[in-house]
Amino acid sequence: MTRFFLRRSAGFVATLFGVSFVVFWVMNVVPGDPALVILGIDSTPEAQEALRRLLGLDQPFALRYLAWLAGMLVGDFGTSYAFRVPVADLIVERLPLTLSLAMTGMTVTIVLALGLGVLAAANHNRPVDWSVMLVSQVGIAVPAFWLSILLVIIFAVHLRWLPPGGFPGWSDPLGAARALVLPTIALAAVQSAVLARVVRASLLEVARLDFVRTARASGLARSRILWLHMLPNALVPIVTIVGMQFANVLTGTIVIENVFSLPGLGRLVFQAISNRDLPLVQALVVLFATIVVVMNFLVDIAYGVIDPKLRPAA
């Protein structure tokens, strides 16, 4: 078990290291001078030079990268060029929104997908099954940003049930919840369509196994067998996809937050890249990558929880 953790952690650190280096390097060669972006086209070269010195941009690349790494080790993510406040503060400020969006998106995805997938599998090769499959096939094909636009037209512009965008802050829980409804639907629609198909397929796979017959033969109800016997056995592929989808949802928020004017990490990363705000981009990308890697790790752990055969030897 310890070995397993050690190996995973080593891979984890290596991945993050690689990601951070690539980002740092790319952000360095990308055309665009943060000082110029911040000061605008009417600024004097002298002021730009002064700002570059202030931001430490006059230091050589390697030195800056090492300094950044050293800072990371002691938990200092640096100071944003454009916002002029610690990067950690900016992230802490915006993480809750993005995480809640990703969480609600994932929750809706899972609930919807399990419902539809189980429904389809339980009615295999019947009209219900075909309709679910058709709906999910269409769902997969819908571009999330287009769906977002359609949702805004229908629910915000015409029906005026929900706000078209913006976020009133957590101090207004009802408003916050309302603001998250449409983005959540936009995020979850596509993902749940994908997941529902996986749920159905792996349930059908499991349905062929003999233990399902055994359970029926012992008198258990079909619904109980479906949910408590078959579904757990179908979970390995489902969890794998859920893990991948969490990453998708997380990057999906980049687009969704822009469409719905939500002040989350997705908007922030967009802004940070266009401002050439290296410390911020760096921290955000590393954060995204961390979440993805941790998610993969959790998925691996989940395999063991689900299936005793897959538990790493003690």
Binding site: G32, V37, G40, V85, V152
Partner: protein, 494 residues
């Protein structure tokens, strides 16, 4: 729900005949600021929200462009135009309670002028020789040369008078001396200001609470206005959406003017633009009306040179190069530019630019020029086009006031334009303090630039404002980036 409530309140106020005075206001802004310190960041929305509201300056620019007193009660200018003596208002306090004095004025200006200053408009401080404290309420400034725009420039947010103690925290917790003080900021979503009860003009300020809502997407902004979530949207980003509001009795729609000249910039240092005939040919190929109709839905004034049409010194030069494809072709042939020559058009990510680009592309095609459009990101634009001059053509709006001086920079400026004659002309404009004479010189400069066809001059960026009918005091045109909030009033509707 909100609509119903508002209707109810409106109805009740009509019934009782008592004006219902709303004391808060919500204003939509397209551009999301990264910092709230105008002396550190050039983002225009920072100035719009903060200048004259949270931060005050020695002077203030009125809607008509004239300069008025602000923190400076009055001033005297020496006959040679090189010494300014400002008398400050008494008893002004910053929001943190610290007093404003001649010392703080000197501190703020010295900081902006300093060698290591990263002030975005550092050039406006360039003429200043020294700032001296005469007594606690008197500041004397000596200039190196005469500067016609000095008082105007001192009204800029970049010349804000700041509390020395607050310099480090102004980026996200601004402390100024203005009629409004900072309340809260949810980055990326909203900024809330509240009335400063200690301000000298506090009694005249009606609106207690102002919330700026950041919405970059025009569709979202429209929906928010329609849903009455916001009361005003100055600088509404999408002209195509205005008819929606014009037909709605709740709103007044105003098309104001700005200082933003939109140009099809030619890289004058690069072939074939070094040849004036090519520049003129392309100017003939431009159909401004089609561009304004297509890109701005007709809501912009065409310009024939580099000067805002609302200015008293403006000359209409749009007739200099009337649309004439044959003439364009002839001039191009004369200049040896082959039919089908490909030129790149690198476009920054602003709707006015990206839309104009596609129309210009089709117009130039008729004149035998293949335009290769490349929509680039702002950081990329600044580096590749602005800094490295790596482009043939681009489309950009110059939003600074009094910016005829752009053409008097040397060839390293992104125009790649350097003309000794014009340098002289600009020197005279800059140092001419007599208004009438200066206007005359400005007219001459406009004609010069049109004649030279330095760029394709397209149109003046309009200020599109959507404002609730009951709301008055809104500044519709902006000679500077500022939207004074203390003048806002809710009127009883009738």
């Amino acid at each position: 729900m909100k609509t119903i409530l508002a209707t109810l309140l409106l109805a009740s106020s009509l019934l009782t005949g008592v004006a219902f005075a709303k004391t808060d206001i919500s204003i939509g802004m397209q551009q999301e600021p990264t910092s709230l310190d105008p002396t550190a960041d050039a983002t225009a929305s920072i100035e719009t929200m903060m200048t004259g509201n949270v931060y005050e300056q020695l002077t203030a620019v009125q809607e008509d462009g004239s300069v008025a007193a602000s923190l400076a009660r009055e001033w005297t200018i020496s006959d040679d135009g090189l010494t300014y003596v400002f008398k400050l208002r008494d008893g002004v306090k910053f929001h943190d309670g610290s007093p404003l004095s001649a010392e703080t004025v000197k501190f703020s200006l010295d900081r902006a002028m300093a060698k290591d200053s990263a002030n975005p408009s550092k050039s406006i401080f360039e003429p200043i020789e020294s700032v001296t404290v005469v007594d606690p309420v008197t500041v004397e400034m000596k200039l190196k040369r005469k500067d016609a725009f000095f008082l105007f420039n001192l009204a800029s947010g970049k010349a804000s008078i700041m509390s020395p103690a607050a310099i480090a925290t102004n980026a996200d917790k601004p402390i100024g001396s203005g009629p409004y003080r900072f309340a809260s900021w949810t980055r990326g979503d909203r900024l809330t200001l509240e009335k400063n009860p200690d301000h000298r003009d506090a009694t005249g300020v009606q609106v207690e609470r102002v919330t700026f809502r950041f919405m970059s997407d025009p569709a979202a902004a429209t929906a928010a206005l329609m849903a009455e979530e916001i009361d005003a949207f100055p600088g509404f980003p999408a002209p195509e959406l205005l008819p929606q509001f014009q037909s709605d009795p709740r709103f007044s729609v105003n098309v104001g003017t700005t200082e933003g000249e939109v140009i099809l910039a030619f890289n004058n240092s690069r072939k074939p633009f070094t040849d004036i005939r090519v520049r003129q040919a392309l100017s003939y190929a431009i159909d401004r009306k089609a561009i304004i109709d297509g890109a701005m839905y007709g809501l912009a004034t065409p310009i024939g040179s580099f000067y805002p049409p609302h200015h008293r010194a403006y000359v209409d030069l749009t007739g200099t190069y009337p649309t004439d494809v044959d003439k364009a072709k002839a001039l191009l042939a004369e200049a040896g530019v082959a039919e089908g020559t490909e030129l790149s058009l690198r476009v920054p990510p602003f709707p006015y630019a990206t839309r104009s680009a596609e129309i210009i592309q089709s117009q130039f095609a008729k004149a035998g020029i293949q335009v290769k459009i490349e929509n680039v990101e702002w950081g990329f634009w600044l580096d590749e086009i602005y800094k490295k001059l790596n482009y043939d053509m681009t489309i950009i709006a110059h939003t600074s006031p009094n910016d005829l001086g752009n053409f008097a920079r040397d060839a390293s400026y992104f125009y790649g334009y350097d003309n000794a004659e014009y340098h002289q002309l600009w020197d005279r404009i800059q140092t001419e303090t007599d208004t009438a004479h200066r206007d005359e010189l400005s007219r001459e400069a406009q004609k010069f630039l049109a004649r030279e066809a330095v760029h394709g001059f397209l149109f003046q960026l309009p200020a599109l404002n959507v404002v609730r009918k009951e709301l008055t005091g809104f500044r519709m045109s902006s000679p500077v980036q500022a939207q004074p909030l203390s003048a806002l009033r809710w009127q009883a509707s009738n």
